[in-house]
């Protein structure tokens, strides 16, 4: 048998509807006011105190590892993302165009402790080591070396850590130490053959452009972190651009000795630029590896990068 819903008296129904309306209005109104207040607070918040922002981390990696109750991997992920956000935040706030491997002017005091904690919480996490090798040397080279060596102690079979160590020494122009690092890594099982070759080349031609190209090429191929990959790509563009500019200078010099003056525009030497295999734009200007036209510095037969170019200076 179907039960009939008892009918409320009309007055009670009206009162019920009124109550619902009042409550819904209170909810919507209060929500709107809280949004407005939150907006006001955001716009009136004092700028963060730099001292507080850069305050040292209280907990050491080992303490955190113990306290993480088995969630150390997740804690490492948190500190890793915090490291990236820390660098990213400073990077975006910087007024000048800087490269990832030269962040010394950004005052990244917390980066070393953040990466140290990340790698203590999860010693097998490879990307923080890669980041430490690529970014940290410009800020604190000794800390960068210490973190990589700590990683080697925790992962004795990881040849890539020796590659990172070799890269740091190479950047410092300590080619002997770099050669040793590549040599030690080459002995590990699974290490690619080029590690051994790198050891020899590092000892023989440490400061050469070709070796730099090989180092950044390997870094580009193997980097897991997208920002490190991008840094390697831009360094490769820079190396190519250096080569191109050397060639263009020779052309400009030859033109000057032949014509007795510097060219007034790229059009005058367009065939010569094309002969070098360089792409040119509609004005005849050769393009740099990032696709932006080179600038002809008139008067002294010099070639330079355009300010808008993506190739590092």
């Amino acid at each position: 048998m179907k039960m009939q819903k008892p009918r409320l008296p009309q007055r009670a129904q009206r009162s019920d509807r009124r109550r619902t309306f009042v409550l819904a209005s209170i909810i919507a109104g209060s929500l709107l006011v809280t949004i407005l207040i939150a907006h006001w607070i955001d716009s009136h918040r004092a700028s963060p105190d730099l001292q507080v922002e850069e305050e040292g981390l209280y907990l050491a990696g080992n303490t955190l590892r113990r306290a993480s109750l088995g969630f150390n991997g997740l804690s490492a992920d948190w500190y890793w993302m915090r490291s990236l956000q820390y660098v990213g935040h400073k990077f975006l706030n910087a007024k000048t165009n800087i490269q990832l491997d030269d962040l010394s002017q950004l005052n990244l005091n917390l980066l070393a402790p953040l990466l140290d904690i990340t790698t203590t919480l999860d010693p097998e996490f490879e990307e923080p080591y890669e980041y430490a090798a690529a970014v940290l040397p410009a800020i604190d080279v000794q800390e960068a070396i210490r973190i990589i060596r700590k990683g080697i102690a925790a992962n004795p079979a990881a040849w890539r850590l020796y590659q990172h160590l070799g890269y740091i020494y190479w950047q410092r122009r300590d080619f002997q130490a770099a050669s040793e690092a590549y040599g030690q890594g080459a002995k590990l099982p699974g290490a690619p053959h080029w590690m051994e070759a790198m050891k020899a080349r590092m000892a023989a031609e440490g400061g050469s452009r070709n070796l730099a190209r090989e180092i950044y090429g390997r870094m580009y191929d193997q980097a897991g972190d997208t920002s490190v990959k991008e840094m390697a790509r831009r360094r490769l563009l820079q190396l190519d651009s250096w080569d191109q500019r050397d060639e263009l200078r020779k052309v400009l010099s030859a033109y000057k000795s032949k014509a007795g003056r510097c060219p007034s525009s790229w059009r005058e030497i367009e065939p010569l630029a094309r002969a070098l295999g360089l792409p040119v734009d509609s004005t005849g200007a050769p393009l740099d590896p990032a696709g932006t036209a080179y600038v002809l510095v008139k008067g002294n037969c010099e070639v330079d990068l355009d300010l808008k170019s993506m190739v590092p200076k």
């Binding site: 113990r66 109750l69 088995g70 969630f71 150390n72 991997g73 997740l74 490492a76 992920d77 890793w80 993302m81 990236l84 956000q85 999860d122 097998e124 996490f125 990307e127 980041y131 897991g224 972190d225 997208t226 920002s227």
Partner: protein, 283 residues
């Protein structure tokens, strides 16, 4: 619970046609376990899966932007950690109420009026919650695997490799459930939850307990910490989330030893709980 058990018990006895005291014991345990599982489902315990799926979806979609291309590792770390954390909360908060709720609702009188032993009751309750946790863990494991497939845009070896870690998580939860049940057999739910949570924390510090006992000069302190080390379950044995995120699999002998340790530990705990519970007077 009591009604279900009464009906089930009647059906079970009819089917076997034997003495309910002997051959009916495993059957009665199964009925209690089934009803405990149903009760957990009715109490919307499995609703936590919705939250879990939301977390995983958010991570799979957004974390790539923040992690510098480490989505796979973070999905495994976060997914398995959430699985453990949610499981711990279920084991503690549902586990401590298993016995208490029956006493509070006075359904326990109806249950013990039938030929149900106190041990049967506790074991049934324990297995019922373990079944709930198993469903929970399996669905969550499938969720993590699906998230990995989504992030990798195809097959990823981690999809299979994480299951050894998931097994260890489940075994850890099974131990914790038994501990919660032990405390709930003689204490209030709030105190039981607190004590079980302490055991969870101390269980993850057990390596430090051993180190502490070795470094103590006093023999009494050494003895105390050694005893604590062996008494408290070594839950650090089941922490395999971080290596799993790097694609490592524990070796078979390790998993076997860890599972055997857990089984024996659960037997000890449930036997102790039965001993205590048998002495409780419900009159």
């Amino acid at each position: 619970m009591a009604n279900g058990l009464l009906k089930s018990d009647h059906a079970g006895t009819q089917r076997t046609g034997e003495s309910p005291h002997l051959s009916g014991t495993p059957l009665r345990i199964c009925f209690i376990a089934r009803n405990t599982f149903r009760e957990a489902v009715r109490d919307r315990v499995l609703y936590n899966l919705v939250l879990f799926v939301l977390i995983l979806t958010a991570v799979a979609i957004f974390v790539g932007e923040l992690s510098g291309g480490q989505e796979r590792k973070i999905i495994v770390d976060l997914g398995l950690s959430a699985m453990l954390l949610f499981g711990v909360f279920i084991a503690i908060f549902v586990g401590v109420g298993l016995v208490y709720k029956e006493i509070e609702r006075r359904t326990i009188y109806a249950i013990f009026a039938k030929p149900v032993g106190r041990g049967d009751f506790l074991i049934g309750k324990y297995l019922g919650l373990c079944l709930t946790l198993l469903v929970n863990v399996m669905v969550m494991g499938a969720g993590v695997s699906a998230a990995l497939l989504y992030v990798n845009r195809g097959w990823d070896p981690l999809v299979l490799r994480i299951w050894a870690a998931i097994l260890l998580i489940y075994v850890e939860l099974a131990i914790l459930t038994s501990v919660a049940l032990l405390f709930s057999s003689f204490s209030s739910p709030a105190l039981s939850a607190l004590l079980t949570f302490f055991i969870f924390i101390i269980g993850h510090f057990s390596a430090d307990l051993k180190g502490l006992s070795n470094s103590m000069s006093s023999s009494a302190a050494r003895w105390l910490f050694s005893a604590l080390y062996y008494l408290v379950p070594n839950l650090a044995n089941y922490s395999f989330i971080t290596p799993a995120a790097h694609g490592h699999i524990p070796n078979l002998s390790y998993v076997f030893a860890a599972v055997l340790y857990a089984m024996l530990y659960v037997v000890v705990i449930l036997a102790t709980a039965t001993l205590i519970f048998s002495r409780r007077n419900f009159k």
